[in-house]
């Protein structure tokens, strides 16, 4: 298996190189030179099976976990939320205690097939309730009193990436999560736009005139390498992904667009390990009910279409989808029919090969809250990262998280 793979790769490299040679020699002068590190990753396109991908989705603003996965038999819940608590008939029961918000029907369908694992009470000690800070903590995998300037996916790229497009964010700029100490992921909202940006003839020519040997490890060399990487990655992503199209109908919103692009990338066999996307607007301080309903619907419909799309090309079983939010919300509703920033929250793991589909652990007590009136955390989010790094991406999580964390058994 291994040897055939290697062989396929080498022959692909050779074929591509000859094509390149023919193409380029006709139009470029003898000065034309493609650095070897560009060649190394821009040449093979194979849709290997068993190539595992991780898709991370952030529900930005702090999703109200209690109105998402609802403790619909808990009196405390109804007491704390006189106008916001979901009525029993608006909840789809998952077990005797917890149910899903009715807007999540498409997600419930996946749940019933055993594709969803719900991990409750995920957080970290001394939670921070600022969006920025809490997002930083989740994205850098730091403790609440620690300031890291690189993201956990970025550090994964630093340690284990084989190409600049190993981690992609479906956005026009890169979040901290994908920024490493020495390398970064790429932000690509639209493969064609990104490609076009890098195709400025002047800049392209400059890139093509560089020789690897002349590019130092210092700042200027780093700029040139980044520039050449961008150009070849954009080309690779665009040319690889344009070969597939989808017959699945996605809802028309920017979240679904991200998922559609992600599915296209995955289904085309793009050698990207991690995809990062987000859905904004969960900061529901006032009149939460309708906003929240719409957002959950957007989320669930998008995910449903995404999974269907992946299944149509047999890539679902090799894809793991992680959905988190920077914090949950206060148990008690506020005076504006909304909820304030809280702490521990539910996290979704979606995939075709889950070890423990369903409710992974019980919801924390609603009567034994922390000093702020928030749920107490039980599972450190970094144990989830550690699990995913070791068991899914097959790398040692300590190199990325700087510490040894317990691994869970959801995969």
């Amino acid at each position: 298996m291994l040897t055939t793979n290697v062989f396929a790769r080498i022959s692909n490299v050779l074929i591509m190189d000859r094509r390149k040679f023919i193409k380029h020699s006709s139009l470029a002068s003898s000065l034309f030179f493609v650095p070897s590190f560009v060649k190394a990753f821009s040449s093979y396109i194979t849709a290997e099976t068993g190539y595992k991908r991780l898709v991370i989705l952030q529900l930005s603003g702090g999703n109200d976990g209690l109105n998402t996965i609802v403790p619909f038999r808990n009196d405390e819940y109804y007491r704390a939320r006189p106008t916001l608590a979901l009525k029993k008939e608006d909840v789809m029961a998952l077990d005797t205690d917890l149910g899903m918000h009715k807007s999540l029907l498409p997600l419930k369908k996946l749940y019933d097939k055993g594709f969803v694992s719900i991990i409750n009470n995920v957080g970290y000690p001394n939670p921070n309730r600022s969006h920025f800070r809490a997002t930083d903590i989740w994205q850098t995998a730091s403790s609440s009193n620690q300031y890291l300037q690189s993201g956990w996916i970025g550090r994964y790229v630093d340690q284990f990436a084989t190409a600049p497009y190993t981690a992609l964010e479906l956005d026009h700029s890169l979040s901290l999560a994908l920024k490493g100490e020495t390398q970064n992921g790429l932000a690509v909202q639209n493969a064609h736009t990104f490609y076009k940006i890098t195709q400025d003839p002047y800049l392209k020519n400059i890139a093509s005139y560089q020789e690897e040997a002349h590019l130092s490890e210092h700042n200027l060399g780093y700029l040139y390498k980044t520039m050449i990487d961008a150009e070849s990655s954009a080309k690779y992503i665009y040319e690889t992904s344009k070969t597939v199209s989808t017959s699945v109908n996605y809802p028309n919103n920017s979240f679904s667009k991200q998922l559609k692009t992600t599915a296209q990338f995955i289904n085309s066999g793009l050698k990207t390990r991690v995809y990062y996307g987000s859905l904004n607007g969960f900061d529901t301080h006032v009149h939460q009910e309708n906003t929240h309903k719409k957002l959950l619907k957007t989320y669930a419909e998008g995910i449903h279409a995404f999974v269907k799309d992946l299944q149509s090309k047999d890539t679902f079983n090799d894809t793991l989808i992680l959905t988190f939010s920077e914090f949950g919300r206060r148990v008690k509703q506020n005076s504006g029919h909304g909820t304030d920033h809280g702490s521990a929250n539910a996290l979704f793991v979606i995939g075709g090969n889950l070890k423990k589909p369903g409710i992974y652990n019980n919801l924390a007590s609603l009567s034994d809250l922390d000093d702020n009136g928030d749920l107490k955390f039980e599972i450190d989010f970094r144990t989830i990262y550690a699990t995913v790094l070791n068991k899914w991406l097959d790398v040692n999580h300590e190199a990325v998280l700087f510490k040894n964390y317990k691994q869970l058994d959801f995969i």
Partner: protein
Amino acid sequence: MEQKEMKHLYWRAGFGINPKELEFLSTKSREDIIDMLFYESQNTLPLKIDTHEFDTLTQEQFKKTDKIQREYIEKSRNKIKELNHAWVERVLNSHSVLQEKMTLFWSNHFACQNGMILYVQKFHNTIREHALGSFKELVKAISREPAMIEYLDLKQNRNDKPNENFARELMELFTLGVGNYTEEDIKEAAKAFTGYNHDFEGHFVFNENHHNTQFKYVFGKAGRYEGDDIIDIILEQEACAEFICKKLYRYFVNDALNKEHLKEMTQVFYPDYNIETVLRYMFAQDWFYNPKHIGNKIKSPIELIAGISNTIPLSFKDTKQLVAVERMLGQILFFPPNVAGWKGGKSWIDSNTLMLRLKLPSMLLSKATIANNKKGEFYDSFQTYTKEKVANNFFKTTSNWRVFNSNYQQVSTKDLAQYLLQCPINKGTLNYLETLRINNKQDYCLQLMSLPEYQMC
């Protein structure tokens, strides 16, 4: 002073220098030029925008209903963008370049975020006021700023329930750095800052009822200390002077530290903490002009924009667009990523920010096209010139090429690189540029500004 050294000084202490200014300074000594830099930066004129709607606002009016409050918050957010725009225009137009450079430095050192325009503006002007003055005064003033009091939870820091956030960041990020204090020092210092608060209008309020008047034990000393006493005690540690000098060295000289030079600077800075004195010392040293430092720093986004504008004066017409550019480049003024600020250096660069940086001069100045005519290709420069005149630029900016033409009149087109770039052009790029036909000085200027080399200063 040699031209090469002058350029270096002005790129580091300011945002570049044009041939006319270089000519004017050509007979001056290093000392004279440094004197001039500081003389021109005596200006601490506050940066102010129209905030009349907030100036007379009371807490009662602000909180009247949820809806009204939300509207004010939204308005305030827009005002902060307006202040951001005003700040950029100030950087682009001010002659007090060192003052601007240091205001940017301290704004990143005391990284802080707040949603209330009055607090943000006040915080910013406190930094301006002390940017080249006394670091001791600066730290004390910052500890009393409403924006900081909110950002690092000083409001919640009460005698009965201390919150250590401010005390921790004060030591870890603002003064000493990790390893130069203990957890016990933080706990004790936090007690001294209890009772710090502010009123709605943004005045500092010291609430005696929440203040801890007990003995505090920090850095081997004991006393009934208050916040300012703690700052004095922290600054008695030479480690504090060294920590700040390290940061100054990385900002002005090189990402890689030189221990001896750092030691020299620390000795100058300690124990008075006079910012001007240590900067003067640094700019006066031969080592500051060592060729290995020249052109090896990656410009921050704001330095990049200011540098372009220094050559071809620019003005942004649309606040939203400016903020969008800042966002894409990864540096929204008033919105540092966290209390540790922007990391700088290589971390400014990823594929997306770099491609935008390379395209930026042409997007700002010439509808996003960079000339790439090969030698011998037919080219009607006049026709293109008139076309460019009528076409809109990619961004809503006004640019003043006339100033460029006048400042660079004496410079031949082929010599342009030595004025625009701080580092030698990469060999491969040089080979490529030689295949190009130089149409005119303006096109060539844009071509040079679109190189990775132009990202360096």
